[in-house]
């Protein structure tokens, strides 16, 4: 599903964020990218989501060469992804419902179908009762669940999650991992960047460790 082939990323100034990293993620697989801060986990996710381009190497997603994709194709590529951010990226001038419905608006769902899908997604993450609330009234764990609802509402083939359990207590972290595992079980491919592989042990994912931008194990 995702192939990373000898991918390197060098930032202006000469710092190497990734060096010759190669691995594949099969359809329906959950893979953890672990390592210390600055290991290149987030950079790798950003390259897969075509937020940045690799300096060298090839990234293929579902047969498409992401690293050589033209700018016009990138929005359509990103519609195949569900993105979960450590900082949630929720819009605080919108309700929970309005936040979750955004990917469906982008892809042109009718209002009725979108409402139905948003409620189903919020139900899955246990926040249906909070659909009218503003995200600022939610706890950190609840915000992360809203973020996950937004990531899955359009039923993407691939979930990219950057530190989804960061800053959460053990209970909330466990709930998030359980949610991600449910999506994996229904066929989603999940790539997670985390410094806390222990929190994901219940889902028994494959773990890839990076150190200073290089593949370790």
């Amino acid at each position: 599903m995702i192939t990373i082939d000898h991918v390197s990323k060098r930032y202006p100034g000469g710092r190497d964020a990734l060096r010759q990293v190669s691995f594949t993620v099969a359809k329906g697989e959950m893979v953890l990218l672990t390592g210390h801060s600055g290991a290149g986990k987030t950079t790798l996710l950003r390259l897969v989501a075509a937020i940045e381009r690799p300096t060298a190497g090839t990234i293929t997603v579902g047969g498409q060469n992401v690293s050589r994709m033209g700018n016009r194709g990138i929005p359509y590529l990103r519609r195949n992804f569900g993105l979960v951010f450590q900082d949630h990226k929720l819009l605080h001038d919108r309700s929970v419902f309005e936040n979750v419905v955004l990917p469906l608006r982008v892809t042109g769902f009718t209002a009725r179908e979108a409402a139905s899908r948003v409620r189903a997604a919020l139900d899955k993450v246990g926040l249906l009762a909070r659909e009218r609330d503003n995200p600022v009234t939610l706890s950190g764990g609840e915000r992360q669940r809203v973020c996950i609802a937004r990531a899955i509402v359009h039923r993407p083939a691939i979930l990219l999650a950057d530190e989804p359990t960061g800053n959460l207590d053990a209970d909330n972290a466990r709930n998030i991992v359980a949610l991600l595992d449910v999506f994996r079980q229904v066929g989603a491919t999940i790539l997670v960047a985390t410094h806390d592989a222990e929190a994901f042990s219940a889902a028994a994912p494959r773990v890839i460790t990076l150190s200073a931008g290089a593949f370790v194990a």
Binding site: P75, L83, K89, V106, R150
Partner: protein, 302 residues
Amino acid sequence: MTRWLANHARALRDALDRLRHPLIPTALSVIVIGSALALPLLLHLAARNLATLSGQLDAEPQLTLFLDTNATETETEAVARLLARHPAASTVRFVTRAEALADLRTSAGLGGSVDDLGRNPLPDAFVVTGREGDPTGLETLRDEAASWRKVEHAQLDALWARKLAATVRVGRVAALLLASLLGIALTAVTFNTIRLQILGRRDEIELSKLIGATDAFIRRPFLYFGLLLGAGGGLAGLGMVALAVATLNRQLSGALLLLGGVGGFSGPAISDAAAVVGVAAGLGWFGAALSVGRHLRRFEPS
């Protein structure tokens, strides 16, 4: 097609929401645009009304030579010959004192008073029109004719009407120039308003890009916003002009009646109003397109 229409309908709704929230800055922008449009529109209307006025008046300059009441037929013929030879005279019409009296009796409604005079006090006269494209010719002729034998008085009429017509032409050009300048101002106002909108929605734009929104999808509500802002400004401008015209007519109704029976200062026609709103909406759209094109590129997801 349905999806395309739904996308546009959603963008339009979004733009309407952005106009309403927050309302006060939007209202201020609309007033600024309206004022910018009202100024050239008022000038255009003033020029049009003056043109109508000058059209109702006899704008063709005429020189009237009044002869001495004691002038003999031979002396009158001598003046006629001088006029016929003069290069500034295009047409010459002789009005006898009897014809002048009859005209006074009928057209001015002074029949009773004229009859009371007992005799005809009016002189014979020549009415001369000048040649096209020679505005100063009649003035020269007037100066010369004043010294001719048996010419009592030379009077040049309607020159002021010609000057008025020239003023109207200048006014129209000024209105066009002002409209062009203020059109640029309207575009600049929309450009800046959209810039502020984009800055205020930076998070939303970045997120939208991350979840697969195309540039067209992000750009569309801003374009509709510019279009609606311009159209709103156009309507506001029309409202201001209508108010100004009504006030002007109330204040100047007496004076306008004196000027050739003009009933009042006419406001913009429906075609004028449609043009103002259409052009304002177009400029709003253009300003928005410039602004979005320039500022949206800077917001890449981080």
